[in-house]
Amino acid sequence: MEQKGEPIEQILERYKGQNAFVVIEVLSVDPKTQKPLTGRVIAVTPDETEAGLAARKAKHFLIRWVGEVAEVIIV
């Protein structure tokens, strides 16, 4: 498979700690597991609506928070 874009882990590491949503267009996936491998950044924003609207431009996307993460969760 042709490798395009940048490894997704590498992208997330670069923005780590920014307290924002990173919107990534997935450009390649693992042929066996179909998990995303590489992508490109479409937007970096703390606003959820903005992140969602940016994701609409991508054919295949993921949105990840790159700020502080809660340890305990009650839903």
């Binding site: 959820e48 609207l53 994701a55 609409r56 295949h60 993921l62 949105i63 928070w65 305990v72 839903v75």
Partner: protein, 148 residues
């Protein structure tokens, strides 16, 4: 996809799911397996990214959580793939999850009740097999034996 590994050190069960927009565009999701939740729901950003107009939803639901009560929109998700099973035109909630919650959404009873489930927290393994037929049942117990 009967056996799914998860990181037990995070103190939550986070698994992968895929949602599709009406035009077929996929979104990669990390979702919480929440046996205490009645309904499945997703973040606003995820639903908007899938082309769903959350604010135009005509249906809302009163949601009672462990700590509060709030009204949230209900929207139809064209396709949700969980544990290898596709759910079509599924009504899901738009959840106001804080950004610090490391998930795009929550899998509740409406999805989880379609599966036999087994969790080995120590090994970080979740076995999920949809109901239906003797073979699926046998496969589930075989996978559970391996995950013990």
């Amino acid at each position: 996809m009967p056996t799914i590994p998860f990181d037990a050190s995070r103190r939550v069960i986070l698994v992968r799911a895929i949602a599709h927009a009406i035009d077929g565009r996929p979104a990669e999701l990390n979702v919480l397996v929440d046996t205490g939740a009645g309904r499945t729901g997703f973040r606003r950003s995820t639903l908007i990214g899938l082309g769903i107009d959350v604010d135009a939803s005509e249906q809302t639901i009163r949601l009672n959580t462990a700590s509060e009560s709030l009204t949230v929109p209900v929207v139809n998700l064209p396709i949700l793939r969980v544990f290898g099973v596709d759910f079509l035109n599924m009504p899901v909630l738009c959840l106001p999850l804080p950004p610090t919650v490391p998930a795009d959404g929550v899998l509740g009873f409406d999805v989880l009740s379609r599966f036999r489930l087994f969790v080995n927290y120590k090994r970080g393994l979740l076995v999920a097999e949809p109901f239906g037929g003797f073979l699926r049942g046998a496969k589930f117990f075989w996978q559970v034996a391996k995950a013990m």
